[in-house]
Symmetry: C2
Subunit: 216 residues, 2 copies
């Protein structure tokens, strides 16, 4: 096997794996790791149970793969900010991006939520390693914004948690939200209204005077 054969590897295998991953995400996300069964995943994927194990090795390996896939989707957020960035612009983008990611990958988001709820048995080291460092490094920059007088002197960690929680709420608690609103699902108008609200409250609440009103 030469060095680059792995690149153009069997495409049919990839397609099947994607089918399985997608099915698994739908089964794991509402019920968590323990509440999901391989048989249910197999039914969802319309494949024999033994076939799932042939491709994924074990329930745990499949689950961990899903977690990693979801985390990769979040990598871009808040990545390229500096002390010279405009807080209003950055936080607006942050809110909208997080909101959009939740809408785009609802199952993946719920999967992640269930994992945290269960005490993060498979993500403990990621949270206290990579993610902790990520938050710490973002916090440094936000602190600089405060010192420059661009915004109030708030704890950056609580601010990040606030934006995370406020946006995630609409995917992970979608059953509650839609129940209360009396709608089947959130409309585009709802989403726009929510984004606008969150921007208004959080930016204003942090003492950020909207520099340039981005048209929406």
């Amino acid at each position: 096997m030469t060095a680059d054969t792995a690149n153009q590897e069997n495409a049919s295998r990839d397609r099947i794996e994607q089918t399985i991953l997608s099915a698994a995400e739908q089964v794991f996300s509402p019920h968590g790791y323990r509440g999901a069964s391989l048989q249910a995943i197999a039914d969802q994927a319309k494949l024999p149970k033994a076939n799932i194990l042939y491709y994924m090795g074990s329930k745990q390996a499949l689950y961990v793969r899903l977690l990693n896939r979801m985390m990769n989707r979040w990598n871009a957020v808040l990545e390229d900010i500096t002390e010279d960035s405009d807080p209003g612009q950055v936080l607006s983008d942050f809110i909208r991006t997080k909101m959009m990611l939740g809408q785009r990958y609802p199952e993946g988001s719920k999967l992640f939520a269930a994992e945290i709820l269960a005490g993060a048995p498979f993500l403990k080291e990621y949270l206290s390693g990579e993610l902790k460092e990520w938050v710490a490094s973002r916090a440094v920059i936000i602190r600089q914004w405060s010192q420059q007088g661009k915004m109030d002197d708030v704890d950056p960690r609580w601010l990040i948690f606030l934006i995370w929680s406020a946006t995630q709420h609409y995917t992970e608690y979608s059953a509650q939200v839609t129940g209360i609103l009396g709608e089947e699902a959130l409309s585009e108008a709802d989403l726009a209204s929510i984004c606008q609200f969150l921007e208004h409250v959080i930016l204003k609440g942090c003492g950020i005077t909207s520099s340039n009103a981005t048209s929406h």
Copy 2:
């Protein structure tokens, strides 16, 4: 059996039921309904499995009882507000009360979260009935505050969701929060700091000029 014998009913039975409920809450909360087993609950309660079923009837009945117990704990919140109330005072109380409830009943809160995450199969009608009406009635009053110029004209529903999500985050995502902070659990100082932050951002963000600074 006369009409009121049920009042001073067997106290030993109550004690055992509380033991079981407490054990069940600890087992259900991280794993959800499907992820929990009666055997695990029995082990936690240090009782034979058959004994659990003798007192609770079935897994489902036990689970529903836990949900109801948790919901009763929330009943007092935001209950006695009028159009003449002070928004700053009310929202401050709301934030602090919600935060306190999450700290007081972490398992119950997580249980509720897991139920919603699973699509709220046992709470659908509560959400779209009682709770929907509750939110609607609170929204009317908040709208009046806006019209009186006491606060910005924000959508009360999004405001309620914001406070719910921001406060619940610290109990339901406690594994993530503590992992990122590098602490075993949230300290009292952390909690006070978080409450202060949320008050600051949300009240200011809603255009509420803190009437009387309550000392903390």
